[in-house]
Each structure stands twice: as C-alpha cells, then as structure tokens.
Amino acid sequence: MNILVCVKRVPATGGRIVLTADGSDIDVRYLGFTVSPHEECAVEEAVRIVEASGGSSTVLTLGPAAAEDQLREAMAIGIDRAILLETDGRDWDPVATAGAIVESIRAEEAAGGAFDLILFGNESADTGGFQVWIRTATALGRPCVTGVKALKVGNGAIVARREAPGGGWESFEIPLPAVVSVKEGINLPRYPSIPGRLRARKKEIARSSPAWQSGGLEKIVLRLPKEEVTAAEIIGRGAEAAPAVVDLLARLGVLDG
C-alpha cells in the first residue's frame, strides 16, 4: 500500500504566544518548530501500516525551505521519502494550500506512484482551518472521513472509526483510494532512533515551488485574546478545606446531582 501523509510546520509555542510588534505573525525568534500532535500520529500510522502490510510511504508539506526539518523528522521515524512544496514564507490559505497539494498528488500519481491512502492530521495546530483534507479529497473525487481514531486496513478497503457525537463509536467502511484525517489517540508515536535520524539524512526530498495564490481568506492581523487572569480565591488548605469546598459546590448548585 502506498501512503501519503501531509504535515505542516508550526512553531512549538509552549506556554505563551508572543506576537511580532506589527501583529503580522507569531514572534518565532526563540521558538522551535514541530508539527501538530494529530500529524505526528498520522506519520506514525503510515509507518505502522507499511510495516505491517508492505508498500511505501511519502510525507508532503507546503512550507518554507526550513520545513525540511519536519520532513526529515518524519523520515527518521520511518517514512520513505518526502515532497517539499516550497513557499516564500507567505501565508497560504486553505483553498490555495489544498490546490497546491492536489496538483502535486496528481503529478506524483501520473508518474506512476498512485496513493492508496492519504493521511492528514485533524486540523492544523496553528490556523485550525479544518478543511484542507476535505478539499483535497473532493478535488480528487475520493471518500474522506474526519476525526479518525482507529484504522483497519483490509483488501482494497479500510474501516475508519471515530467517536460518535453522543458517545460511543461510529465506523465507515470505505473503498481505497481514500483520504482520512486522524486525531491524537489513534496511536502513540515513537521517538526517532539515532540510526533512523542518520538514514533520514540520506533520504530523497523532491522539491518544487508552486506559485502563491489567493483563495479568498486573507489574514489582516493577529491579536492575543484579552487575558482574564483571575486571582483564584483560596478557600482552604489540605483536608480541612473539605467543608468549605462542599459549601461552595452547594452554592454553585451542583451538590445534588
């Protein structure tokens, strides 16, 4: 089975986000970079499927030249090769991003490497646009399931399981080729090994530079939300606080079910 995983380079913001003076972007001078936890799981899932049933895996990103780091990281875990759609650092909106990804997939597939399964992480960590994989699937005419937390690969089909809105689980059996977005929890991603990192250095990265496009959604400025820092009222210390806590729960109306 040939699998493509799409990831996005994002700053590892950790505690507090700091913006540049003009609010045009996050101040990344002191930050490392990563991909979202959902995407780490998508990479791990691709590697596991290929380990179990053969085939090959490719990781793709649209981003600046430095996004090579995230591609190498994925290859250190076991992805076979990478595609970098290099940008000049400008923001690409979801329509334009999906357009460039679709174009790259079509070119890859025309060259003989059809992808049975295309994996994404469920929404990017930074912009949270929640749509690139759906646009990609729609453009390619492939079925697409969102928010998947378990994947079973069968013969020419997969079963994708996700949480149902009211609790419990719902599954979709869909024919391949297909597009799936996965969520953290589908697996526990491994750390790259030292030999894995060494191998990743030698793996191939195919590069191209698609032209920037506007897709109808355009950032004006970023702002930090008004912080509502409250000073918590300390109602007690240790076990002696219990009566005060129960009084509080009664006052808040949650003591009697």
Binding site: D126, F130, A232, V254
Partner: protein
Amino acid sequence: MSGPILALVSISGGAPERASLEALTLARRLAADTGSALEALLVADPAAARAAAGAVAGFGVAAALAVENPSLTADHPDGWAEAVVQAISARQAAAVVGPGTERGNDLLARVAARMSLPMAANCLAVEPGERYRITRQRWAGSLLEDCWLDAPVRLITVAPNSIAIGAPDGSPGPPIVAVAVELSDRDLALHVTSREPAERGGISLADAKVVVGGGRGVGSGEGFADLEELAGLLGGAVGGSRVVTSAGWRPHADQIGQTGLRIAPDVYIACGISGAIQHIVGCKAAKHILAINTDPDAPIMGVADYAVIGDLHTVVPAISAEIRQRRLAGG
C-alpha cells in the same frame, strides 16, 4: 447574492445542540446587520427536523428549512453536504453560519469544497461588507486572527463555547419550508457502516455538569480512583490533561484540551493540573473552576475562580467524605 442568512442547526435528541444555538445567535446578528432574513436549516432526519422546528422559535427565524430526501440520514456526511449546497442555491443564501463542532466544521468544509468557496472556521465575530471582516480563533483560541473573507456566498462556522446564546424572545415558531434535494448514489456512498456503544456507561464528559479533571499530580492510573469517587458523588464525569492520556493513565477519549475535548461544565474541578495552555483552552469555558494543587503559583490559578492548596490525594477524599456525611445527616 443578497438572499437570506442560513444558520445550520443540528438537532440531537429532539433539541438543537448548544453550539448550533451559538451559530444561530451569530447568524441572527449578521442578518440584522445586513438587513437580510434569517433562515434555519435543520440538520436532522426529516421527521426529527419537523418535530424540532419549534425549538428555534424566539431567535428571529423567518423559516425553518427541512430537507426532504427519502434516503438521507444523519449518517451521510457527503449527502448532507450536497443537501446544504442545494439549499444554498434554492434559497439564494448570502451566507451560511454553522456550528464549529467537529461535525459542523466537517459539513461546511465539504460544502465549501463542493462549491469551490473559501470557508472561515471557528469564528467569533463577523462584520459584513462587500468582504466580510471576521475574527476567528487560531491555536484553539490562544490567538485571534482578524481576516477578510471574500466570496459570493460566505461560509462561516462559530467557535463553540464562545458566544452567549441570546434568550428566546417569544416570537412564534417559524413556518417549516420543505427543501427537496436530489442525491446521487455517489453522494450517499459514504455512510456510517457500524456503531459501537461507549466502553463505559455513565454521563459523557462533553455533557457532564461537573467534571473532575486530573493531571500529572494524580501520579498514576490507580490514582484516579479518588477522582472517580468524587465525580460519582456529584453525578459528574472524569477527564484528564494530555500528560495523563499520553502516559496511558486514562483513555485518550478522556483528554480535555486542544487535541482532545473542549468542555463547558458548570463546575470544573482541576486536580493536580498545572495548567498548560493546551489544557486551559479545553476547560476555560467552564462556568466555575476550582483548582486543587500543591503549588499556589501554578498557571491554573490564573484561570481558576477558587483554589484549595494541598495534595489532591488528601483533599479529594476529604471532600467525598464530607459529601457522604452531609447526605447521611440530611437523611
């Protein structure tokens, strides 16, 4: 187009879901600002939609649209997308506002892809104009983005737990308008093929009025017994931070945070949780937060309303014992 503003209202258990009422509230404001009519498209099986139409009364809805197609059920993601596409066309809608839940975002993204239109997800505010100026969440709400949405039909989802739902104003229930949609086999090909019940019974984390959350301070999977006991006494549910689910102390479905669930209970009791931003974005919509922590300077104290300083394994059992004792005394 200068047609109506269409609000997507998901019906579950006969009533509109909370996030859909938030979307309806924002859509109503947008309709007023643009001088447009407000229409609610009920996302539910047709029978349930007709029964629930009254539930959108009092929100200024001029018409409740019920999709009519014999094959369409709630289990057809592409079928619903096509139904919304056809409803947009039938009503000549100027904008569509849906809930920014996982399902709501999924549905509107499918609509956007089919219509080759941009979509703005997880929005908080909309200023209409030739282009719409929109405020939306990035980083699960740790950061806000102001952006332009430039499209003939504006597709917008509303970030859950971010908008105060307007009180119904006593206006009568809207008339139900049937919207006949035609779906191909291709539209109906993707559907839920099997279901499984939740592993555990009891109240779900998403719906619980009281949530007891545990973090690194709980120390182990077994350590959650104290939290389970308190949650049981309060009729609530137990959740955990990302540390807890990554360590395997709790199943991943119990994670509260950016990559897990975002909850909005009446009371959230955060036990041994330091308050990393990834967790805070998942619990800050709680009406009241009580933190139980050994560290009075933990970041969680900055969002908590109340705090008990102490070891959760001492404090939580003492609270449970106090509740039991009062219940016995109260007969």
